[in-house]
Subunit: 222 residues, 2 copies
DNA sequence: CGGAATCCTCTTCGATACTG
DNA sequence: CAGTATCGAAGAGGATTCCG
């Protein structure tokens, strides 16, 4: 089931990796799946600009390369979801290093026709955690275009930070803020004191966990 | 001077990075320049398969984005060399994380029509160094297709490993081995004892530095 | 409605040839 | 040596249609 695809024909691990995930959209699909499993149409909706046929092709190729799996998803009536495989999850450092590099292009703010998604912004948390403790935090973010509250669960430990969309498991802390304020905090160097003073952040649960979270993730208290 | 280029139109640092270096060949050009400055025709020769016109376009785009600079190179009669800028050098983690991921596709050895370059194989050294000491090693590698000895200089310190092609500066140790043996060592898990027993590696200078180098870079002694 | 396949157009890429 | 020019082939974008 191999391919009649373009490759670089170089015996080099960088080139080999690019043979597999170097095409347009591939790494953005991985980025999406880093936040949890998604259905075909979820991906289609979140990756505005990709065409159905191209998405299908990329998914098929990546399944072929064992980067993702197509799971039967019995719960909701829907047929199945795409999910990162063991191998696919090892692309996280690639996505994150691109993300770190790309931050410099975010400083000037979004362009007019840019799409926004708060999940993309949460990925930087995976880079920032330097702490020694573990815990679970639920983030409730509201105020995006649709005015729908989005729920993410952040499970952090010294070795790994797991971020999932739409999970509602038990967590040590529940934190609510607006997506705008999150972006100010994460990308525009806004201080917590500033947002707290304006009562922009609501915290329920073990506030110590939240404080630890903030400090370990490099957010400024003052 | 900006572009009528395709981009993803997403306010996301991963997408932004891919807007800049996500196109075919871009990251391989960066990979080449991580081993030192190169002339246009050096790049054209090393990136077999790229066309002159595409290489020119990529170089122009990357210069536009301040990833590389085009320096007047007075010494050799040649006109100029391309070199990574400060910003471009920050793509190293991207290239290296791709390289780490891609190692899994190297285990089966090269395909028939694969190009080989020992410089590409040396890049993994940047990932492997875990030591606390600093030093400089000259690697002399012989036995590639052209039977030309290739010279690389590895300058390692706790914070950074710099690898340059064709340098002949003073170094603590000079190590000679064949490219085949290097590949066995680095990618096929060959042990040093094995190669030493067969007298495959020649070391001149402070042998302690060399030993430290080997251990800190994760090579197996037994 | 989820999950594609089709048709068509436009852009990018690759191969070769050519020029300052 | 350092690129342009040209042209056909492959890939990507957009809209629509099809199937279960």
């Amino acid at each position: 089931m191999s391919e009649r695809k373009r490759h670089y024909h170089q015996f080099c691990s960088v080139a080999r990796a690019l043979d597999v995930v170097g095409e347009r959209w591939s790494l953005l699909i991985i980025r999406e799946l880093l936040l949890g499993p998604r259905r075909y149409s979820d991906l289609l909706a979140r990756l505005k600009g990709i065409t159905p046929n191209l998405l299908a092709k990329r998914l098929a190729d990546m399944e072929c390369h064992d980067l993702i799996t197509k799971q039967q998803h019995s719960s909701i009536g829907s047929t199945h979801v795409y999910e990162l495989s063991e191998v696919g999850r090892e692309l996280e450092p690639v996505v994150l290093s691109l993300g770190r590099f790309g931050i410099r292009y975010m400083l000037s703010g979004p362009k007019d026709d840019d799409l926004m998604d708060i999940g993309w912004g949460l990925l930087v948390l995976k880079l920032r955690y330097q702490g020694q403790k573990s815990g679970t935090i639920t983030l409730l973010l509201d105020g995006d275009a649709d005015a729908v509250i989005q729920c993410y669960q952040v499970k952090f430990s010294p070795s790994y930070v797991d971020i999932r969309h739409g999970q509602h498991w038990a967590s040590d802390v529940v934190v609510s803020l607006s997506v705008l304020d999150y972006r100010r905090l994460a990308f525009q160097g806004a201080s917590l004191a500033e947002l707290n003073a304006k009562n922009k952040i609501k915290v329920e649960g073990q506030q110590k966990k939240w404080l630890h979270f903030l400090v370990s993730f490099g957010f400024e208290l003052e």
